[in-house]
């Protein structure tokens, strides 16, 4: 079990690292889209490759940050009943969900996703829009996302078992309402920004 818990820590660290890096694609998408909009209006020129680049960047963000969001427990739940249950039951529901909901979903998409990518890669599929991008890099995001998610599912299972056996503290011990967590994050961020701002002349 100790070895497994160590493995789970490594998986978590990798997925958080990937998420944090990929998140910057949001800023890239903002810039690409703004520049594209201005150029399109002012010089009446644009290219489908820029339009496609925007959604590809966004797709990379929401797909590759999914595991990180799972680690942070930010995938939204309908917790109205759940919150009334004893901790033991909630843990079991989580474990059950990881094994019977998340794992099969990720598995099916890993099994179907890789052939989906290879089919496109083999023929060097080009976008149907004139001047568009090559398609396979975007399609590659699907199997990569679900492979990462599959690996993360194992890590979550290990952690939940660890929690249930009292081997590790519960990473989501402070089960608050999602909105509460969100608000606290915003307030914390505001305070940090303010201190930083205050420190400057």
């Amino acid at each position: 079990m100790t070895a497994l818990l160590k493995l789970s820590r490594v998986i978590d660290a990798c997925n958080i690292w990937i998420g944090r890096i990929v998140a910057w694609a949001i800023l890239a998408a903002v810039i690409v889209s703004t520049v594209n909009a201005i150029v399109r209006k002012l010089f009446d020129m644009s290219s489908n490759s820029w339009l496609e680049l925007q959604w590809s960047l966004y797709a990379a963000v929401f797909l590759l940050c999914a595991s990180w969001t799972l680690i942070a427990n930010e995938h939204i739940r309908i917790d109205i009943v759940n919150n009334m249950l004893p901790k033991r039951v909630r843990d079991s529901i989580d474990l059950f969900g990881h094994i019977f909901f998340l794992l099969p979903f990720a598995t099916v998409l890993v099994i179907t996703g890789w052939p989906f990518f290879f089919a496109s890669y083999r023929i060097g599929e080009q976008s149907q829009n004139a001047g568009g991008l090559t398609v396979w890099p975007a399609k590659l995001l699907v199997p990569v996302c679900f492979t990462l998610l599959l690996v993360q599912a194992f890590s979550e299972i290990i952690k939940r078992i660890g929690v249930m056996r009292n081997l590790i503290p519960d990473p989501h011990a402070e089960r608050q309402h999602a909105a509460e967590a969100e608000a606290q994050e915003i307030i914390k961020a505001m305070e940090e920004t303010d201190t930083e701002h205050g420190a400057k002349p």
Binding site: A59, F62, C65, I78, A183, H197
Partner: protein, 558 residues
């Protein structure tokens, strides 16, 4: 048994979904799992081809290349940056001062600023938290009734949901297969009317319970001239001059409705800003001022939000930009504003980026889960089952609208907006259209209705946001030095209830006065998506046909 299962697959599947969702496992994966389990069952029962699930990656790819939903991260990012740019603080301070000793002045200021922030961006959390941090302590200091104060703040924050550019309207337009530009155009007047109703409620309170909403004491009103005058005449003249100037410039313009409002406001604010800057420069050099402090302060506080409104909404309404581009420009504009105010820091951009990434992920995964569910659900004709169920309701259009609204109002207690939008809305679109209901009108009605999901005690999100910033314990007020009691959760709940009622009144108003929304028709709104793509005739490349009949897919909009 098998025959029963085959015939009643859709209802059984729907019931399972409800049970599974209530377990409280992340909704995205629960949805997907129910879809998969029934897909496997369907294959086993011979309802589907064994290759059925091969369609899944293509479905995910379909969600990926959706240009409309790309606006979600843009507007979220914009909201998060703006929230830390200090814009809301400046506005609340200045507008609160402007109302001065008027009874209920601070509450009016909150409604006004809430509407203004809502028109700038679409993030409820940001608005509620800013107003809760800045206005609530002032309201408590001068003896506002706690229920009125918290209710006004929470409700005004939720205006971000219905006044364009809101995330809700984007997702709604996408799910109903309509243009976001039209949805914005249609929601504009109901959104403003709703803010008007909030202000009217404040007015009623000031009449019925004068003690609940006192005006500021004279000594707390700032921005005075050296002779003690408040300088309101100067502000009134400046406002009138800007309005006349805007009207003069716009007198031959062909625009109507929201376009006209936005453009005129833009011209007016440019005028006022120019005057204020010239005034400031002259005062700096010669010491002679034409405008009062108040007039100058109000102008400077109003310029950033109005400029952003023009940059985002204005460009969308006149057809200069698609909503997605408008979002990107707004995000860039917010970054520039923060830079201009010398508040832009690396940490701030990093936090905004990471928060946006995680929000995008959870929202889009609910959609991915819903699409996985619908692959099977539509495969077993679930949408026809729902359609027949709803069309057979008595009362035709009105009966349908009343039923659907009560249903959604009830769902809003448990589900958050994105879950309702991705699971329920697509099922309602078909029947609504069959009954001859305009889908933009339908979308706006549901949008106003779903705003209540933020205000319902005890799970409304806006109430949680406010709880997080409202003082729980009694504290010593910074200005008066008096001990002030904290705000109880019960007070927040009670404060929200009148606004839930107002929300229901507004839903009824939109249902009975469709003209509020329907003016979107016949206006050259939004942008022709075909113009964005560069079209060149290409030889017909056949794409492998995927999954269930194409009719299931909502019409693709660029």
């Amino acid at each position: 048994m098998t025959a029963f299962l085959i015939h009643n697959m859709a209802p059984i599947m729907f019931a399972s979904l409800v049970v599974v969702l209530l377990l409280g496992y992340p909704a995205a994966f629960s949805l997907a799992a129910v879809g998969l389990i029934y897909a496997l069952l369907g294959i086993e029962l011979g309802l589907f081809h064994p290759d059925f699930l091969q369609a899944l990656p293509e479905r995910i790819y379909g969600v990926m290349n959706n240009d409309v939903l790309l606006a979600i991260p843009f507007f979220t990012f914009m909201g998060l940056i703006l929230e830390r740019s200090g814009m809301a603080e400046d506005l609340l301070d200045t507008i609160g001062q402007l109302f001065g000793t008027v009874r209920g002045g601070l509450a009016y200021a909150v409604v006004f600023v809430g509407a203004l922030l809502a028109a700038t961006t679409g993030v409820v959390a940001a608005s509620v938290i800013s107003m809760g941090l800045i206005s609530l302590p002032i309201m408590l200091r001068y003896g506002y009734d706690r229920r009125v104060a918290t209710g006004v703040i929470a409700a005004s924050g939720t205006l971000a949901q219905i006044i364009p550019p809101s995330l809700v309207l984007i997702v709604m337009a996408d799910q109903l297969g309509r243009s976001v530009g039209d949805m914005y155009e249609g929601a504009f007047i109901p959104g403003i009317a709703l803010a008007g109703l909030y202000a009217f409620y404040v007015f009623l309170v000031t009449i019925l319970f004068p003690k609940a909403t006192p005006g500021l004491p004279v000594e707390a009103v700032g921005f005075r001239e050296p002779n003690g005058d408040r300088g309101l005449t100067s502000l009134a003249i400046l406002t009138a001059a800007s309005a006349v100037f805007a009207w003069y410039m716009m007198r031959n313009s062909q625009t109507h409705g929201a376009d006209f409002v936005v453009l005129s406001m833009f011209i007016g604010i440019v005028f006022a800003f120019t005057v204020a800057v010239v005034n400031w420069a002259i005062a700096h050099m010669t010491g002679i001022r034409v405008l009062s402090f108040m007039a100058q302060q109000v102008t400077f506080a109003m310029v950033p939000p109005l400029f952003l409104i023009f940059l985002v909404l204005g460009t969308i309404f006149i057809g200069l930009a698609t909503p997605t581009e408008g979002g990107a420009m707004g995000a860039s504009g917010a970054l520039l504003l923060a830079l201009f105010k010398r508040r832009l820091t690396w940490t701030m951009v990093k936090q905004a980026t990471e928060a946006t990434a995680k929000l995008s992920s959870f929202v889009m995964f609910i959609l991915l889960g819903a699409r996985t569910f619908s692959l099977t659900f539509y495969g077993v004709d679930g949408h026809h089952w729902v359609e027949n169920l709803l069309i057979s309701l008595p009362g035709g259009q009105t009966g349908f609208l009343v039923f659907v609204n009560i249903f959604v109002f009830f769902l809003a207690f448990f589900l958050d907006f994105f879950e309702i939008a991705f699971i329920v809305i697509p099922l309602l679109a078909g029947p609504a259209e069959k009954l001859g209901i305009d889908l933009i009108w339908f979308g706006v009605i549901l949008g106003v209705n779903m705003q209540t999901s933020f205000l319902h005690p005890p799970f409304g999100f806006a109430l949680f946001y406010l709880r997080s910033v409202a003082p729980k314990e009694s504290y010593i007020d910074r200005v008066t030095g008096k001990r002030t009691a904290g705000v109880t959760t019960g007070q927040i709940y009670w404060g929200a209830i009148p606004f839930v009622v107002i929300q229901c009144i507004m839903v009824a108003l939109v249902i009975f006065f469709p003209a509020m929304v329907m003016h979107y028709k016949g206006l050259g709104t939004g942008i022709d998506p075909n113009k964005v793509k560069i079209e060149i005739e290409l030889p017909d490349i056949s794409i492998p046909d995927i999954g269930p009949p194409p009719a299931i897919e909502p019409p693709k909009i660029q």
